[in-house]
Subunit: 236 residues, 2 copies
Amino acid sequence: MTTTRIVEVRVGVLKKNDELARALRRRFEEAGVFVVNLVSSPGTGKTAFLERTLSTLVVSGTRVAALVGDLETDNDAQRLARSGAPARQINTHGRCHLEAEMIGAFLDEWDLNELDYLFIENVGNLVCPASYDLGEALRVALLSVTEGEDKPLKYPTMFNSADVAMITKIDLAEACEFDRDAAYAAIDSVRPGMSILEVSAKRGAGMDEWLVLLRERRESWQRVVAGAGRSPRMAP
Amino acid sequence: MTTTRIVEVRVGVLKKNDELARALRRRFEEAGVFVVNLVSSPGTGKTAFLERTLSTLVVSGTRVAALVGDLETDNDAQRLARSGAPARQINTHGRCHLEAEMIGAFLDEWDLNELDYLFIENVGNLVCPASYDLGEALRVALLSVTEGEDKPLKYPTMFNSADVAMITKIDLAEACEFDRDAAYAAIDSVRPGMSILEVSAKRGAGMDEWLVLLRERRESWQRVVAGAGRSPRMAP
């Protein structure tokens, strides 16, 4: 078994995923559903953040749904369903990331034309999900104040392949002696100019700014899709 | 590219790794060096925990060294070297775990006969490092109080392939509303009877218990190696 062979196989898998993701992206554009892919370490608070996002959007009459990936358990889909939004669990049974094929297989029960937003919560992993396009219009990389400010430097691909960086659990910033300047500098050095938001899903801080950004990104995406038939993430 | 092909390649890589890990394990046993592999999510506090462990052991005259894996940067090797112990950084450049081959390549500068303990800090990832034996005598899976008590249920392989579970950052337990019973139940359900310790590398709580466990495990390993020519991890 040579290294070259392994690399070839990996490239093949990624190429197939890219093709499936392109087809998914066209499908999402035609249906007018804005798809958000949330990526982070395990334990950054993706589920709490998404549950609060879904609850707020449901109350405002926005049509939302969520897919959530984990190796095992349907704990997260159960938590997300408390928001009132439809939520489905994808169990990867050992795989460390979601792939476009899995997303496609789990959409069958939903009419995408009836949705404004679809959120995908990826498997908690700061490495592998970065390489797998899921056809999303927006990729958000979450980083909690408890994790260490240099994570973007150590895991650059996850942050430089994302559109927005979300610093979570800011209610714990003081207890963790979080160094805000160091975290911003680390993010900016791997993806200069990237939008950075701060939230506490527990306390609600920063959620308004997030929902404004989300709406603006969707409107901008709608204009691009209507005008040129392609999504912002596909632009050169 | 079929799924079967991918699985075959993965099995081939793991088989090669297992062979190299067996050779490493023999080498460690012959040199009398007790090797500990630390695995966890990014941001669980492996480096802070290891830095404190190394500092304490160095002060007591114990002969220790450390290897630390990250995709990029040598931040962690620099932090660990502050302990006074020799520390080397392994950059995986995109790979999401350490492999036995990498460990072997980074041991050349050291005389293993001069070491009592070698610590390996794996890449922060709760999935892939579980599948890669590094020839260690003890595998410790860390889980911080900030991450969510159900992580062992969602990432069972990481916990059921480890020998000890270490709950970190317990100084933040109250601020995070950490549910100790739920965390213990989750660990126990994927690996019944597993030793569980709690530490705060920042405050020092639990470090004494950890160092006692470490010494006892090393003594037990020495007896097994001396008696039967094999390590506890290789026992059926």
